[in-house]
């Protein structure tokens, strides 16, 4: 860990918030993609059965 001196709180907070927001965005994109793909597969299976 580098010595961040008197600005340790600011630097660590900036990194934590940014990486947290990026992680949220990636998780949301991935989760939505999975849900929509699953719904489409179920719908296509139902339509082809009919």
């Amino acid at each position: 860990m580098p010595d961040l001196g008197t600005y340790a709180t600011e630097v660590l907070l900036a990194y934590a918030v940014s990486l947290g927001l990026l992680a949220l965005l990636i998780t949301w994109t991935w989760a939505r993609s999975r849900r929509v793909r699953r719904d489409l597969a179920a719908l296509e299976a139902r339509v082809t059965r009919v």
């Binding site: 001196g5 600005y7 900036a14 929509v36 489409l40 719908l43 139902r46």
Partner: protein, 244 residues
């Protein structure tokens, strides 16, 4: 060489993005990881700003993508308005939440950086204010897509909103130069002669910037693929309802 317009075909777009998305994602992860490691652990403190200079490796790439995401949305919205290619409208829709997140990161890291350097979290400075307005445009853009049920009408109205918001995307980039006042400095990186930043900072910063561009590409491709599937689901449901 295949024409760019061929990728307006959802099937061709899905085929292309199927390999391009993971490649972009892996490259983005690698570049951001190396850039942030280099920037956080290996760069020296700035002689005036101390360790807060390390915030630049997140703040500048996020701000870059906040503006360029809107620029990409502008181009794809114009393609929708002129040529009515659905994939371009869906790509613009997918870019909205990504651009909003990038703008939020730029605003928050800017405030955290500004507090010890300027003595305040926020000032109604031209660049800060135009970025805040850009963020509000992103929120409005996302809300408008959600509020309108008919996808073509939503694409039309959001495209018009995107054209209007482009003024603030341009202002966000050039506000510091237009008004030449306020707390925010001008461009940190420039192709003009004269050293503005040492390579010990430029190296990791460029890596993070390229990484953020690739992350944006990967997320837009993933989001557009999701929107194409959602659109197909809606079409199938409508057909099913019509049959019943």
């Amino acid at each position: 060489m295949a024409s760019l317009w061929e990728y307006a075909n959802p099937v061709k777009f899905m085929r292309l993005s199927n390999w391009l998305m993971p490649v972009s994602a892996v490259l983005a992860a690698a570049l951001i990881a190396v850039g942030l490691y280099w920037g956080f652990f290996l760069t020296p403190d700035d002689y005036r700003q101390g360790a807060t200079i390390k915030i630049i490796f997140l703040h500048v790439p996020a701000a870059l993508m906040a503006i360029n995401a809107w620029a990409m949305m502008l181009v794809t919205s114009l393609i929708w308005l002129i040529r009515r290619h659905h994939v371009s409208a869906l790509a613009a829709k997918a870019a909205g939440p990504i651009g909003a997140t990038m703008t939020l990161i730029a605003l928050i890291t800017g405030a955290i950086w500004g507090q010890p350097m300027w003595g305040t979290w926020w000032a109604w400075d031209p660049r800060l204010t135009s970025f805040l307005i850009l963020f509000l445009f992103y929120v409005g853009y996302i809300a408008l897509w959600s509020a309108i049920e008919d996808p073509d009408t939503a694409a039309d109205l959001t495209a018009v909103l995107c054209l209007v918001g482009s003024v603030f995307a341009v202002l966000s980039r050039y506000a510091a130069l237009f008004w030449n006042q306020g707390l925010h400095q001008g461009a940190s990186l420039s192709v003009a002669p004269g050293t503005r930043m040492d390579w010990s900072y430029k190296g990791p910063l460029y890596l993070c910037m390229i990484g953020f561009v690739l992350l944006f590409v990967a997320l837009v491709l993933a989001g557009t693929r999701t929107e194409i599937r959602a659109r197909r689901s809606r079409a199938l449901m409508t057909r099913e309802r019509a049959r019943a």
